[in-house]
Each structure stands twice: as C-alpha cells, then as structure tokens.
C-alpha cells in the first residue's frame, strides 16, 4: 500500500517526534525519519513542514555556521510543540487502536428492521 497519502496527515507529528529529544537541521531530520522507516516522503516536504510548524509557533530555530561550508538551520521543539505532539500522540493511539480492532475482527453490521418488516 502506498503510505504517502497516509503520511501526509501525520508528517507534522512525525517531524515533532524525531526532534522531541534532540534539535536537528533539515537533512538531519530527513535522515532520522528515514531511519525510523518513513522514506516515501520527499526532503522538500520535510523542509516545508518544518517551516510551517515554525510559523505556527511549535518550533524554535537557529542558524549554526559551519566552518568553510554553508550554514545549517537547526530546529528544536518548544513547549507548544510538545503539547501538540502529546495531543496528537493520544489521538493517534486511540485511532490506531480503533483501526486495529476494526481490521483484526470485522464487526458484523447491526441489522435494522425496516418498517413493517417482521421479526
């Protein structure tokens, strides 16, 4: 199954999750996501997501110059980002639980009698 569409909905949470413990720069975050098994997502999507989360006030950002090379822009999670991550994690777990249950044991649809139909 193509998980790209699925990922789009949860990329924000995934990005927040991989920098929960450690600040990271753009490609570093891409690498962490790939290491975690999320490899269908383009790097530009990750960079754009970082920018959006930053604009929404979930991240802090700072630029670190590197010797001789181009500077890197680091992102770190802040309190608001952590709160959102926690909320989404809870949502996700509940949703995943529901889906797992649904997929493992299909529930028989309840039969509703029509008007005039005998038992």
């Amino acid at each position: 199954m193509d998980t790209t569409q699925l990922l789009k909905g949860v990329l924000d949470v995934a990005v927040l999750a991989v920098i929960r413990d450690d600040d990271g720069y753009g490609y570093d975050i891409v690498r962490r996501l790939r290491a975690a098994g999320i490899d269908e997502i383009g790097d530009a999507s990750v960079y754009g997501t970082l920018r959006r989360l930053f604009a929404a006030g979930m991240l802090t950002s700072y630029v670190v110059p590197s010797e001789g090379g181009p500077h890197r822009k680091y992102y770190g999670i802040n309190a608001q980002g952590r709160a959102m991550l926690a909320a989404h994690a809870a949502d996700w777990n509940r949703f995943a639980q529901t889906m797992s249950t649904l997929l493992d044991e299909p529930v028989a649809p309840a039969r509703v009698r029509k008007i005039g139909e005998n038992k």
Binding site: Y25, G48, R51
Partner: protein, 332 residues
C-alpha cells in the same frame, strides 16, 4: 559528514528553487530555504537521489509549508491597467471608508462638506476674475458695472454647478471638476492682478492734488499751532516765523484762502485764526494762532461770522529756562 566545498550544481539548484519562490515575501523565502545548500550537500554526500526539477522542488516546499501555489504562470505585466482602473474606481469609496472609520476625520469631513458652498462662491468669483486679469493688470479705472454683473453671474452658475444643476448629462461630474481645477490654478495670478490693480488705484488717489499735504508738518503729521517760549521759559506771543528762504512758516500752506482753519482732535472740533496783530492771510505765520471761541459757534457747532477769539491753550504754561539766559538776566 562535512564537505568544505559545495557542488556548483547544488548552488545552481538552490538558486533556481529560490527563483521559483520569488513571488513570496523575502522572509518566507529565507524561512523556506535557509540552510538548503547544506541539506542538499549532505544529501548528495549521503548518496541521495539526484537533483531533479527545482520548480517541482519549490512547489513541494511551498505545499508542505502550507503556502498557496504560485499564481498562474506567465509574468504579470509591469502595469496591470485593469487593476489600476479598478483601484481608481474604488479609490473614492476606499477613502470615504477610511475617513468615516475615524471619528475625528469624519467630523472634519462633515464640516468641509457643509462649507462646500463657500468654495462654489469663491470658484465663481475666481473664474470670472481670471477673465479680467488682463484688464486688472492694465487698468486704473474703477470697477465697471459689467464686471460686478459678470461676477454675480459667475457665482450663481458656479453654485448651481455645485448643486448639480445647469449641467449637460455628459460631463455632469467633469465640468465642475475642471472648473475647480482651473479656479485653483487661477487663484495666484488673480491675486497678483488684484494687488496690482488696488495699488494702482491708491497711487491714483494719492497723486491727486486734494490729498497732497500742505502747511507745516512734523514727521508727516500736520502742525496746527506753534508755541514759542523765550530764554526765560515764558510763553512768547506774536512770534513771526520764516524759513531759510524767507517764506512764512504757515500752518495752512500758501494757497489757504479761508479766514480760519479747522479740524478735529481727540477733544473735538477746533478752529484757529491769525492773531489780531496780523489779521488776514498774512497772519498765518504769527504764533500762537488764536482759537475761535466755541461759545459763539452757531447752532450747527460751527464758527459764526466774525466769531470772537480767545488765546489758544499752550501745551506748557512755562518751559525750561535756558541756563545762559537766566544768568545774564540775573547779572543785569
């Protein structure tokens, strides 16, 4: 892993990505592409996928960042005439809304709207006046009747235009507007014309003989009487005064023909005549002149024929004695 130099292809690619985002504010572009070279460089070093289409890359960045896709392809013309026209059309409404949303400005606007008839009147006068600038600048005549009539007509027409009357259907708005613009432009030339005219009128009036000051003056103020005091400070009477050429110093001037001279001071009407010691026209330089006794004025408060005279009241009863004169007097 860190490489010190960056592949020129990456620099080119990053620049192309920034170009593809150049419709965004500079801050947004910076936010989206800060550190892009470092990321791409590291990705390449990691054996990442080859650099593809920078425009597609930019679109992906943009979409993931939640920014609107780039506006329809094709560079917008330098001047969007339709937009300019639309903005111009909305400008009065926009301005009105901006003013009305502020109480202070709104009150001022109401005041100015109430005062519009004043401007209509001025506009009518100025437009008619502008037609007479040539006449104003070269004429010294009094304002002729036709000009007053023309000015009145101008005011009436201008006010009617202000009220939206007396205008053809085409140009209902344009004609009053153009008239206002011309009037504004004509104000300064008209002002100069009127000033020239007025100053010429004054020059004309003052060059007339009737206004030439005559007789004795002090700093431009006419002198009506002279009081002489001797070296001992006592008031002298029957003093005859002449100038350096032997001309009598007359308070009335050489051409005065009357038996008395009169005028007004803060205390009221007064009339003076030559002394009895030098009666008639020859006595106007013999001082002090005597005062016609007001008790004998006629019912109209004016001197009667052969009005009796009294001594004029001097400004000082006695003046300061002169030092040399007093000592010589004592010695004598």
């Amino acid at each position: 892993m860190k490489t010190l130099s960056i592949d020129p292809a990456i620099l080119t690619f990053a620049a192309a990505v920034r170009d593809a985002l150049d419709d965004l504010p500079a801050d947004d572009i910076d936010d989206l592409t800060d550190g892009l070279e470092a990321d791409l460089n590291e990705q390449a070093a990691d054996g990442g996928p080859a650099l593809a289409d920078p425009v597609a890359y930019a679109d992906e960045l943009r979409a993931a960042a939640g920014l609107a896709p780039r506006a329809a392809a094709g560079r917008a013309p330098l001047i969007d005439l339709a937009l300019v026209r639309a903005n111009l059309r909305h400008a009065p409404d926009d301005l009105a809304r901006a003013i009305r949303s502020r109480p202070g400005l709104s009150a001022i606007a109401d005041l100015l709207i109430s005062m519009r008839p004043v401007w209509w009147t001025i506009r009518g006068l100025v437009l008619v006046g502008a037609l007479t600038i040539e006449w104003l600048a070269n004429s010294a005549q009094r304002v002729p009747l036709w000009l007053w009539i023309a000015a009145s007509v101008g005011v009436v027409v201008s006010v009617q235009w202000g009220r939206g009357r007396w205008l053809p259907t085409r140009g209902r708005r344009a004609i009053p507007f153009v008239a206002s613009v011309i009037a504004v432009l004509a104000i300064i030339p008209l002002y100069i014309g009127v000033t020239t005219y007025v100053s010429r009128q004054f020059a004309e009036v003052y060059s007339g003989t009737g206004f030439e000051p005559t007789g004795l003056q002090l700093d431009g103020t006419p002198i009506t009487n002279v009081f002489a005091y001797g070296p001992d400070g006592e008031l002298l009477t029957d003093v005859q005064l002449f100038d350096q050429d032997g001309s009598p110093l007359s308070v009335v001037g050489a051409d005065h023909a009357g038996a008395f001279m009169d005028g007004y001071t803060d205390e009221g009407y007064f009339a003076l005549a030559p002394r009895d010691s030098a009666p008639g026209a020859a006595g106007w330089n013999v001082f002090p002149l005597v005062t016609l006794d007001p008790q004998y004025f006629d019912e109209g408060g004016l001197p009667s024929v052969n009005n009796p005279t009294i001594e004029s009241t001097p400004p000082f009863e006695r003046a300061q004695p002169l030092v040399g004169a007093v000592t010589s007097d004592v010695e004598r």
